[in-house]
């Protein structure tokens, strides 16, 4: 938008702008600007803003998928959403899941990155095996996990039994199902966090470590606290936001492994949304859940934008 302006200014500073054709150049500038920005703007509106707007509108109706009639019901869907025990359980589970996965991924990802960076041999190999789960399709990997976690023939229980430790029916027990799903979530995101931390570690200037050593940071922990962790600040923030958003929209493990059960013990927002919209065809209700979901995602992103600029971005 400032492009035509700036161009006009530049022209104004020049020798003598012909005032007679000033209006027509302004017009041609406008045409050029809109022609250049137009296609992208069109796609953005059609593929992004209109669908979001549609979701907001549908959330205010009682429309059911395939129905030929609909009527506006105001905020009734939202009232129902928040009154529903199932939805509250789903929201709680999602928050709990995120609260386990995000710190778990960050701590383990950083740990693995530090270990790989400190060792000299097999670096590429360690990087690759830790990154594999992130590249694999989680739906397919979930089947492998199902086999591992099988109550009788699964490797996990067999191993535990062999060591004389108590076993569990991991995916059918209300107390274990969410932590187990979270563990799988950590396993999957670990590689992503690790790669970003490795890149972050590489970009810390060696001079800073030297300076810390001369300043008296003898212990590894002191150097970690004085140099490594603060310098990784921006990476932390990025990993935090991306993993949090990814954890919020976890769907495949729930769908393949538990179907939200037992009871509502492993039901999460994305799965609720899917079930209400595409299994029960309560599209209005599903849209209301989507709106709640969108608000959380937008809040996270705004938090990142403001926090990242103020607190962790140096220079």
């Amino acid at each position: 938008m400032s492009l035509p302006n700036r161009k006009r200014e530049a022209r104004g500073r020049g020798a003598s702008p012909a005032s007679a054709n000033g209006r027509s150049t302004r017009l041609s500038d406008m045409i050029a600007a809109w022609t250049l920005a137009g296609p992208a703007l069109f796609l953005l509106i059609v593929l992004f803003f209109l669908p979001v707007l549609a979701v907001f509108v549908i959330a205010l109706t009682d429309w059911q998928f395939g129905a030929s009639t609909l009527s506006f019901v105001g905020l009734a869907n939202f009232e129902e959403v928040f009154a529903d025990r199932g939805f509250r359980a789903s929201l709680f589970n999602t928050v709990a899941y995120v609260a386990i996965v995000v710190p778990g991924t960050i701590v383990l990802g950083l740990g693995v990155a530090l270990l790989i960076e400190s060792g000299k041999s097999f670096r590429a190999f360690y990087r690759a095996i830790h990154f594999l789960p992130y590249m694999a399709t989680l739906a397919a990997m979930s089947i492998a996990w199902e086999a591992l976690l099988h109550p009788t023939i699964g490797l996990v229980n067999q191993t535990l039994a062999g060591l004389g430790l108590p076993t569990a029916n991991w995916l059918r027990d209300e107390t274990t199902v969410l932590p187990v799903l979270a563990a799988i979530g950590i396993w999957q995101n670990l590689g992503f966090a690790m790669v970003l931390f490795l890149a972050g570690l590489k970009s810390i200037p060696q001079d800073l470590y030297y300076a810390a050593e001369v300043d008296g940071a003898d212990l590894w922990l002191d150097r970690l606290r004085t140099v490594t962790l603060p310098m990784l600040g921006p990476v932390f923030m990025f990993v935090f936001i991306v993993v949090a958003l990814k954890a919020f929209e976890t769907f495949d493990t729930v769908h393949v492994l538990t179907q939200g059960g037992p009871g509502h013990a492993s039901e999460m927002l994305m799965f609720t949304l899917y079930r209400e919209s595409f299994e029960f065809f309560r599209t209005g209700y599903g849209a209301a859940v989507t709106v709640v979901f969108l608000l959380i995602a937008v809040a996270l992103t705004l938090f990142q934008a403001s926090f990242m600029d103020k607190k962790v971005h140096y220079q």
Partner: protein, 390 residues
């Protein structure tokens, strides 16, 4: 007080040898500069002294004690880095407090929040604060204490880096090209400030640079390094006037010294491709020599028939204000000869003119075939080689 001794230091990275048997001792309170082109091993030597890298062979002493097995913290040295290496997430005050916090507080006391509650932390912190303010005031950066490095100019960052080194009053100051990231004007100003700082603190400074102007203006002694070898250690004046090695002569001085290869044709006379020059009688005919002549040793000559003159045609003139750098093409010589002449004594020189310049025998520096300085009567016996001539 500490003197520093390097004894036959060796260091290699893989197959590349960066330091070859470097021995050097430094007086306490001395300002010594390690001068050499990049990659000559000078920064490695400094890092070995600081304890940041371990030598492959040889030993380092600070004062009486061997420090080879001591961590940097125990060596009582402070270092200023080329990149300043300030912690970007800390304020200036925080940066300057790090060396004191690391030494005076234990790990528990350094913990955020909890640390302050432990006994003894608060008084120590107050003490650290006041020492930081005092040092900052001495450097004129006390108004910057609350800022972060990202908000400072290059010169200010440089001062903060010096402040962080100064605050704990080390016995030895190490500076690794501290001025090379500054613009030319600021560099001259900071150079004077570093000199002033050395005078004020009176402690040993070891300064690494590739800039000969810095080395010449700051140092008590200059150690010239090339390819991992120490070529000569001497006061700046001697490094310039009495180079022991052809490479030292070529590295020091701008514009570069003129090097003329030739051989002695009869007692007292040598021939180079462009001229005949007198040499001491003691050198046997047939000896191959290289003669080094500083550009300012030349003077304009009117009669071309006297000995020790070189004739050439002017190829390029650089006006430097009071002086002219005249590039002469001499028949039979590959490189142009550079003469530095006073502007007022050579007013009418123009490109393409024939010119005759002369040089006094005392101002010719003779090197043998291997590049070592040839001992002659005209050079005083001040010259003491640091390497045994093979």
């Amino acid at each position: 007080m500490s003197a520093i001794t390097f004894d036959r230091i060796r260091k290699s990275y893989g197959a590349t040898q960066v330091l070859r048997d470097v021995s050097l001792s430094i007086e306490s309170g001395e300002f010594l500069t390690l001068l050499g082109p990049s990659g000559c091993g000078k920064s490695t030597l400094l890092r070995i002294l600081a304890g940041l890298e371990r030598q492959d062979g040889g030993s380092v002493r600070i004062g009486e004690g061997l420090v080879d097995d001591l961590r940097p913290k125990r060596r009582d040295v402070a270092m200023v880095f080329q990149s300043y290496a300030l912690y970007p997430h800390m304020t200036v005050a925080g940066n300057m407090a790090v060396p004191l916090r690391m030494r005076r507080l234990n790990s528990w006391q350094r913990l955020p929040l909890v640390g302050k509650l432990l006994p003894g932390t608060r008084p120590s912190l107050a003490e650290i604060d006041s020492e930081v303010s005092r040092t900052a005031a001495a450097l004129g950066i006390d108004h910057l204490l609350a800022r972060k490095p990202g908000q400072l100019s290059g010169g200010q960052r440089q001062r903060v880096a010096v402040g962080r080194a100064m605050v704990r009053e080390p016995a030895v100051f190490l500076m690794d090209e501290p001025l090379s990231n500054l613009d030319a004007k600021l560099r001259v100003q900071m150079r004077a400030e570093i000199k002033e700082l050395h005078k004020r603190l009176g402690v040993t400074f070891i300064y690494v640079t590739h800039d000969q102007a810095e080395a010449m203006t700051l140092s008590d002694r200059v150690a010239v390094m090339l390819d991992g070898e120490l070529l000569q250690v001497a006061p700046p004046r001697d490094i310039y006037a009495d180079p022991h090695d052809r490479r030292v002569a070529e590295f020091i001085g701008s514009p570069k010294i003129n090097m003329l290869d030739g051989a002695v044709i009869e007692r007292g006379l040598m021939a180079t491709s462009g001229a005949k020059l007198s040499v001491p009688e003691s050198i046997a005919p047939g000896t191959k020599l290289t003669v080094g002549i500083r550009p300012e040793a030349f003077s304009l000559i009117t009669q071309p028939d006297t000995p020790n003159v070189i004739e050439g045609s002017v190829h390029l003139i650089e006006h430097m204000g009071s002086d002219l750098f005249v590039h002469l093409r001499v028949e039979g010589m590959n490189e142009a000869l550079i003469a530095r002449l006073h502007a007022e004594r050579a007013p009418h020189i123009g490109s393409g003119h024939r010119l005759v310049v002369g040089v006094k025998p005392a101002q010719m520096i003779l090197f043998d075939e291997t590049g070592y300085r040839l001992q002659t009567a005209s050079v005083s016996n001040r010259v003491t080689p640091i390497r045994e001539t093979a």
